[in-house]
Structures are given as C-alpha cells and as structure tokens.
C-alpha cells in the first residue's frame, strides 16, 4: 500500500474512527486502525468488537493495498503535523511496518496484517430508513442521560428505540431510557420505512458515538437494521453496532397518568434553585425536598453533616399542599433537557412516580421516582 493525502482529511477521518478504539486492549489488533487504499480513497476502520466505525477520505493511491497500525499513535502523530501538510503512508515490503512521511518528518509504525482485523459486517439488513440527522440527534440527546450503568441489568444499558403510536395517534419513532430511578421518553415523527422496525436496544457507546458523529443537523442519516445489529450512515462515515440482546421492560406501565396535582414552574428559576440548595447536599444522599403550596415551592436540603439550605420560588399550583423529595442530580438532569420556559410536574403523592413535561411539548416526557425525605 502506498498512498498520499491531505493532513486535514486524515485528521477528520481518524477523529471519527479512533474513539472506538479502547486505550487498553488485551487483543493487540483491536488497538489498530485498518487502512485500505483503493480507487482514489483511503478507507479507515476501527472496532472494539461491539462497535465499528468506518470512514472514507479522498487520497492519491500510488499502490492499492491494506494494513493496520496503532490507531491512537497514528491519530496523535497526524494531529500534531502542521496544517496543510501532505501525509504519505507506505507499507514495508514484508508488511510488518508502515512508513509515514510528512515534509521532513518520518515515522515507522509497527503494522499487523489486514487479514487479522475483525470484521463486524452484518448479514442482511432487513429494515432501513432515512431520517434527518438533527431530529435523531434530539432523540438521543434527550434520553441519553437516563441510560443505566448497572451491568447486571444489561438490557438497560442502552436506548430502547421502536416505532409506535404517539399520544396524538400518529406514528412516531420513540426512544426510551431508564435506570430505574428516572425514565426519559422522547418521540419524533416516524420516517418512511421505520414502521416495520423491531424494537431494539442501542448500546450506550454507540449512542454516544452517533451523537458525536452528527455534526450538522440537516444532513440525512440512514439507518439499517438486522436482528442483531444497527448501522448508521452519515456522509462518508458508517457506524455499525451490535444491539443489546435483551428485553426492555414494559415502560408503559410505569408512566403515570391521571395525576391531578399540577405544578408549573419557570424552568430556569427551578433549575437554579435546585442547584443552589443542593450545594449543601452530601455525595450519597442528594435529596431535595419540595414543599409545594399555593403559588410557591419551597426547596430545602437538610444535610446533618454540613447544614441546611432553603430557597423559595413562585409557582402555579392550586391543589392540596404536598411535600415530596427528589434526588437533586436527577432533577437537574431532567431540567437540563427542558427547552420550554415552563416545567410541568404532575404529582400524586410522596411515594409515587412523578411525571415531568417540557411545557406543552407532548413529544418528550420524563418520569422520576421520589426519595424519602
């Protein structure tokens, strides 16, 4: 393989693929990025066996071929080269190393044979649809925070994506994530072709990667699905991930309905007040008590080790007064997702899940378990 290309093109491609490569690997080849030169392009591919990202960048190919070199080292070198540099990569005759040259700089990198590089290529992708990248980014950005890290409940370690009827009866593409304490549910209008898709659980790492890869919101994002894998294509980047093989719990049963105590607060004032009083919270018990009464909410934190805090904000509320506790971190996480100026809490009692809505936006809702205070 012998190829020459612009530093900027190579940096862009490596930026997209190198994050998949774990810093510590017991299998040496997984530390490497696959380089394949052919037809005026250089293909880059990295994988951790669960997730694979490929990108193709324009290049001058003097001799087609393929090899693999350490991904992070290559990325670090190319990143440090001056802007506008021309980078040339050539395999040694015996294939055990790659020579990198840019200007007067020269590097020799140890290479491993291309044939050893694992291939995550899926079989048949039965379902496929195209969606506006920005809409999809919204779907994951608003649910990502609720993904569980509890390893024994692996089926919660991702976003549950499925097609269903939305609250107003239209077909929606819905994302749900929960860790048992909070739950996020966000809908977008279902794109053509999504209707027949099975319910899938997209793992956390793939979610985070696709979130990063979507840089411009109006480009199209193509999604293909098989039984066990999902593939996203955006521009020249292709991300393929295994799906989590498990059953997502029936979230519809935990979304409360008919709660008649409606509390409406200014989102930003509320967020600021929670942040303020939680300053005295302990690391472990981060409970903040909301005392909701006519026209106001009093937020208190009582930490026996450090002190107490209290703040009051105005609110719209005309039901029976209620005291209810929540984890301050979770309240802030949810408040951070709310775009509307008004946060709407639908409460029942201090022991029941509370529904949080983003003003009158029906496409997103959050459920939060209260804490004993």
């Amino acid at each position: 393989m012998r190829v020459t290309l612009e530093r900027s093109a190579l940096v862009k491609g490596l930026t997209h693929v190198h994050r998949v490569v774990e810093r510590r690997n017991t299998i040496p080849i997984l530390s490497n990025v696959l380089l394949r030169a052919a037809d005026g392009t250089l293909g880059l591919r990295a994988t951790d066996l669960d997730l694979e990202v490929t990108e193709t960048v324009p290049a001058e190919v003097a001799q087609p071929g393929a090899t693999t070199v350490p991904a992070h080292t290559l990325y670090d070198i190319v990143r440090k080269l001056p802007e506008g540099a021309q980078v040339s990569l050539s395999s040694s005759d015996d294939g055990t190393s790659v020579q990198l040259e840019a200007g007067r700089a020269k590097f020799t990198l140890q290479a491993l044979p291309e044939a050893d590089f694992p291939d995550l290529t899926a079989g048949d992708m039965d379902n496929s649809f195209t969606i506006e990248a920005g809409a999809f980014k919204r779907l994951i950005a608003k649910t990502q925070f609720a993904i569980s890290t509890e390893e024994t409940r692996y089926y919660l370690n991702g976003i549950f994506l499925h097609c269903t009827d939305g609250d107003d009866g239209d077909k929606v593409l819905r994302a749900v994530a929960t860790d048992g304490h909070r739950l996020a549910r966000v809908d977008i209008t279902a794109p053509d072709g999504a209707d027949g898709m099975p319910g899938i659980i997209v793992p956390r790492k793939a979610v985070a990667e696709i979130d990063r890869l979507i840089e411009t919101s109006d480009s199209p994002l193509s999604i293909e699905l098989s039984d066990s894998k999902i593939r996203f294509t955006i521009g020249a980047v292709v991300l393929t991930s295994k799906l989590i093989d498990g059953t997502f719990p029936d979230y519809t049963r935990v979304i409360p309905s008919g709660h008649d105590k409606i509390l409406q607060v200014d989102t930003r004032s509320f967020e600021r007040a929670v942040d303020l009083v939680s300053t005295v919270s302990s690391e472990r018990g981060r409970a903040v008590k909301l005392s909701v009464g006519d026209g106001h909410v009093v937020l208190t934190v009582n930490n026996p080790d450090s002190g107490t805090a209290m703040e009051e904000i105005t609110a719209s509320y005309d039901a029976e007064p209620i005291d209810i506790g929540f984890n301050a971190r979770y309240l802030l996480d949810i408040a951070g997702q709310l775009e509307s100026s008004e946060a709407r809490f639908e409460l029942s009692d201090p022991g029941s899940p509370t529904l949080v809505r983003d003003g009158d936006d029906a496409s997103a809702l959050y459920v939060l378990m209260p804490m004993r205070v």
């Binding site: 569980s148 509890e150 390893e151 024994t152 409940r153 692996y154 919660l156 929960t178 860790d179 048992g180 304490h181 909070r182 739950l183 719990p249 029936d250 979230y251 049963r253 935990v254 022991g351 029941s352 899940p353 459920v367 378990m369 004993r372």
Partner: protein
C-alpha cells in the same frame, strides 16, 4: 505471697470481691476465681437459648417443659431450651428428628419481631457499659471494657457480673459471659460455662488451654477447612502450635499466620462497633466439582435464599452483590456488581448473581460457590419502587408470602413445591402468590 499473686475472686451473686469457697457476704457459691480476673477487659456476651428463654419468660407454664422454637413438622429446630437439649435436641436438627428424640416437646413458631425487640433492649444496655460494642447477632456481642474502670468504679469483671444480674432481674433472661484478653478467647470462654455462665481464659493459660482443642474451635474453620488441615496433619491446636509458621503461611497465606497466632491464644482484632457487619454471605462446597451453568444456578439460588433470609432477619439491605467461585484447582474468583438500589430480596440477588455467573462458566469445573451482599444499610432503604421493573412490588410480595409460609411450615415444603428443575430461569416469577399457600397472609 505478694498481693499481685493472690487469686482474684468475685461473687457473681452480690458482687463482693475476695471470697473463697462461699461468698462471705451473701453465702452464694457462684464465685468466679482467676488470677487475671480484674485485669482482663474483652468480653463476649451470649444470651442462653435466647428464643426459647423469651417464650418461657412470657409463659411460665412452659418453665420446666422442653421447648423447641422452629418450623412445623418439616422444619428445623431454630433454638431448643436446655430441657430439650438434655433429651438430645440440637439447633438445626430436622423437626421430625427432634420430636422423635423428645416427643413431649412444646414446639413454638418463632416470633422474630418479639425476639428482635428484646435483643435491641439488651444491646442498648450493653452500650450503657461501653461504646465499644460489636454485635455479632441478635443475641450476642463483643464488648471492650478496657479503660472503663474509672467510669463504672469497678473492674470489667465486676461490671459484667453486674450486667448479667441486671438482665436477669429486669428482662428475665440469663446470659453467659466470657472474659479474656481478646475476642477469640472471649468467644470460647462464653461457651464454657453455659447457661448462666461466667468463664475466664487468661493470657497465661491460653496456650495450654487450647492445646487439646480441635482446630474447628477457630472461627472460620468449617468441615472443608478442617478436612484440609487434617490432611496436612493438623487435627488439634497442639499440632498447629508445634507447626512452623512459615510453612503454614506458605500453604494458607495470611490466614496461615492467623491460624498460628490463634492456636497460641493470640488475636489482635479490635472490638469494632462500626464493623457491625460488612457483608452477609453464604457458600457451599460441592460433593463433586461442577462446570454446568444450570447446576451451578441451582446452588446459587439456594444460597441467595439463605443470604436473603439472613438479611431479612437482621433487618438489613445490601447494594453490592458478590459471587464467589473456587475452581477445582482451588483458584478463587470473586466477582461483584453494584445494584441500582439496596435489596434484601433473594430474587434480585439471584438475578445479579446469575449474570455474574454466566460470565464465568466457560467449562471450568468449580468446587465451591458463594453468594453475598455488602454495602449494607437498613431495611427501610431496601427495594424501592423501580421504573425498570414494574413487577417488583408483586415479586417482593410473592417472596414475602413464601417467607411466611416457610416460617409456618418449614422451608423444605416450599422448596419442593417451587423447586428448581427443570430450568431455574427466573425463580421469582414462579413464586407467584397464587402458587403459594400463603397468599392469604399477604
């Protein structure tokens, strides 16, 4: 003879000191004498036949009758009173055997709530003696009374004898006290003179006292370890006393050194009130090594039930689940996972343990499996409603219903009805209340 060499003595009946033979003050024969009596400060206090004694206290007509606390016909003996013990009834004996040995025994179902309340009252009184109380269970604890002389105007021995009298007078129960220079010897001592005992093991005679005792007297040495030690030629503590500490350490690591120290009556563990309990666990060694995941799950499930029962009895919850495996070649693997909320349910413990186990069954043959919960907290925090498990409330209710049935009829009955085979996939879903005769108790 100097004063220091005089044999110190204490009347347990009235608290007078310096008596020999009978107490000159009250005439009682309950005199405890020991050279180091007034110099020792570590005690182990253990209530005598605790559950049975409470029942006898509350129903005087039972006083002279053999009383067994335990499940029904198919259950096991939880506690036997001393009358029943004379007839050969022992703890953990199947009830039918106990009744064969002692047909006229009065069998009483355990009332754990009542016993817990009494246990708490006794513990509170221990804390009145010293903050250095390390509870071991509902009815026993270590106390470090070193340095309390100034507060109580009495030596630890006198304070303890006074405590035992108070418990008898105010609560109507008897305790046995072991007084020694350390926890290991104190625990042995409390057992020497039971019931209503007060035994002392001093530093000087500890090595000769332990000399002819079996290795199993050391806490943590069960049948498996005893067998291993016997294989190495260690049957009695005398064998370990004679051993080369280096070779013990070579074979048993740090524990080997502890063995050597304990065999000589030395134990430097502190009485630690905060170390109440760091974890609750159970383990079992198989008759034959097992590699099969399903077979291992069967054992795991039983252990989870055992751990869960202990957690429930101790009113605890735990956040971290531990799986322990020992391979046929004696390599230990320990795996842990943190739950999203503390639990005390066997079903949740099993779900997490099963997940950890699945990653370990790669054809390796195992000789032991263990399951445990740590990061302990109180039971109030256990198993809150879970958005990711809408059925949790129902499953928890089912498990508690089964617990009640077991308390009533003994664990074997429910075990069989809801047994493991053929596929122990999700035991808690099979334990629906409608499967269990105890649903009316829910």
């Amino acid at each position: 003879m100097s004063e220091a060499d005089q044999i110190a003595s204490l009347c347990r009946n009235c608290g007078a000191t310096g008596a020999h033979g009978r107490c000159q003050t009250c005439g009682s024969a309950r005199i405890v004498t020991h050279k180091e009596l007034f110099r020792l400060g570590i005690a182990h206090i253990d209530c005598d036949a605790f559950f049975a004694a409470i029942e006898k206290r509350d129903d005087p007509s039972l006083r002279d009758k053999p009383v067994i606390i335990g499940g029904g016909k198919r259950g096991v003996v939880s506690t036997a009173c001393y009358v029943a013990r004379l007839n050969g009834v022992k703890s953990a004996m199947p009830m039918f055997k106990a009744l064969a040995a002692c047909p006229d025994a009065v069998v009483i179902k355990p009332n754990i709530e009542k016993y817990s309340a009494v246990g708490r009252e006794i513990r509170q009184r221990m804390f009145n003696l010293t903050p250095q109380v390390e509870p071991l269970s509902i009815d026993e604890a270590f106390l470090d009374l070193t340095g309390t002389q100034g507060v109580h105007h009495a030596s630890p021995a006198e304070t303890l004898a006074h405590f035992a009298r108070e418990i008898e007078r105010d609560i109507g129960l008897t305790v046995s006290v072991g007084l020694a220079p350390n926890k290991f010897l104190a625990k042995i001592a409390s057992d020497l003179d039971k019931p209503r005992g007060f035994a002392v093991i001093g530093t000087e005679e500890s090595a000769s006292f332990l000399h002819d005792k079996p290795v199993t007297i050391i806490p943590g040495i069960g049948p498996a370890m005893a067998k291993k030690l016997a294989g190495e030629g260690y049957h009695l503590l005398a064998d370990i006393q004679r051993a080369d500490p280096a070779s013990l350490m070579k074979r048993h690591g740090e524990y080997g050194f502890r063995l050597y120290e304990m065999a000589h009556g030395r134990d430097n563990r502190r009485v630690d009130p905060d170390s109440e309990r760091k974890s609750v666990s159970a383990e079992t060694t198989f008759n034959e090594d097992i590699a099969d995941l399903r077979a291992l799950e069967v054992h795991l499930w039983r252990l989870c039930e055992k751990v869960s029962a202990r957690m429930k009895a101790a009113e605890l919850s735990g956040l971290t689940v531990t799986l322990k495996l020992k391979t046929a070649s004696f390599a230990t693997r320990t795996r842990a996972a943190r739950l999203s909320d503390p639990t005390q349910l066997a079903g949740k413990l099993f779900e997490a343990g099963k997940h950890l186990l699945a990653h370990e069954t790669d054809g390796t043959r195992f000789r032991l499996i263990g399951s445990g919960l740590s990061d302990l907290g109180n039971a109030e925090a256990a198993d809150p409603a879970d958005l990711a498990d809408p059925d949790l409330g129902r499953k928890a209710g089912a498990e508690r219903a089964v617990d009640k049935v077991r308390a009533k009829f003994g664990r074997d009955m429910v075990q069989r009805g809801l047994g493991f085979s053929p596929r122990p996939q999700s035991p808690d879903t099979r334990r629906k209340p409608d499967d269990a005769p105890g649903q009316k108790d829910k």
